[in-house]
Symmetry: C2
Subunit: 194 residues, 2 copies
């Protein structure tokens, strides 16, 4: 029996990234979008992810070979006091990338972080959290065609191109999401009982 990850999301872009990351650990991942994700309003991603997986765990029985995962992620811009943070999806839908660039006009400190938190229901019935983070800067213009969300305005530290100018393989070497799922994969491989 091999362990598998059930990724509770409606976002196929995220799913493809996770599939790529976990394939290196020989862990299969399945996308599950039949659950309504309940997300709290909170400044704290950990709290949002924890409550979200707790809610789902009320109706799901733990499975012997499956790790149920919800992800909460956000872009935290230092000069904007963490905005858009936990509400990155809503901000993307309303003011969008152009709104963020407008807010950043004339601002020198362009440091930002992408953070990903996984809330995981493990086979032992316990809930565990895993975290991934990548530091970078907000670009001065929208660039690139790959990825999704804020990828076209985020330049990771040590690079001179945005996430959206990288192919999936390259982004997944360093992204917050990749790092969080790598942590999960290591945990799974170190504890899973065949």
């Amino acid at each position: 029996m091999m362990p598998k990850v059930i990724f509770i999301t409606g976002n196929e872009n995220k799913y493809r990234e996770v599939e790529f990351v976990l394939s290196k650990f020989n862990i299969e991942v399945f996308m599950e979008n039949k659950f309504r994700k309940i997300e709290l309003q909170s400044d704290n991603l950990e709290e949002i992810a924890k409550k979200s997986i707790e809610y789902i765990s009320q109706i799901l029985k733990p499975s012997k070979d499956a790790y149920y995962v919800v992800e909460d992620d956000g872009l935290f811009i230092e000069a904007l006091n963490g905005f858009p943070g936990p509400y990155s999806a809503y901000v993307y839908k309303t003011i969008g990338l152009k709104g963020i660039l407008k807010l950043m006009e004339g601002i020198e400190n362009r440091t930002a972080y992408f953070i990903s938190i996984l809330g995981v229901l493990c086979p032992d019935g316990q809930i565990r959290l895993f975290k991934g983070i990548v530091k970078g800067v907000i670009s001065s213009e929208i660039k690139g065609i790959h990825g999704f969300g804020y990828d076209p305005i985020f330049i990771p530290e040590g690079y001179d191109k945005t996430f959206a100018e990288m192919k999936l393989e390259e982004k997944c070497e360093i992204s917050h999401r990749a790092r969080a799922f790598q942590e999960l994969a290591k945990y799974i491989l170190s504890t899973f009982k065949h």
Copy 2:
């Protein structure tokens, strides 16, 4: 036995406004800040207020003479696709009034709405929602010293000053919150059995 309103909030500014509005109906209001308000992430204020009062009603028994009220409100700016909307409090804390004005630079359509939704646990054990709305425009600069939140940049329709340039009495004749609580007061007075 007179009906009373228990307003579940940690915001004293809101409490003072509600106290003023309900005093005209001879309804007493008490501020209650010992409950942790659970707020969902949703684009829909009604859903947020409904879930919030449902959550509280799981632990509160209905009272013969008390209406338990949670309020969810937000500023919806037309040209920004409803931003900041349900996340007005977080946006205020992070990018603030200056951030909103920066986003509105060069934008002609400055129409905005303040919306207030009350989620109410009534003496009969039922949950009811009440709504108040006020239309206006986003000012070009921060003005006024009264009120709180977005008041210094919101000019209600038919006026040439911001909410923050009005005293509480004047704001409470037209504000979204006042209107929602007036609706609640009318409902209480028409249905409450002495």
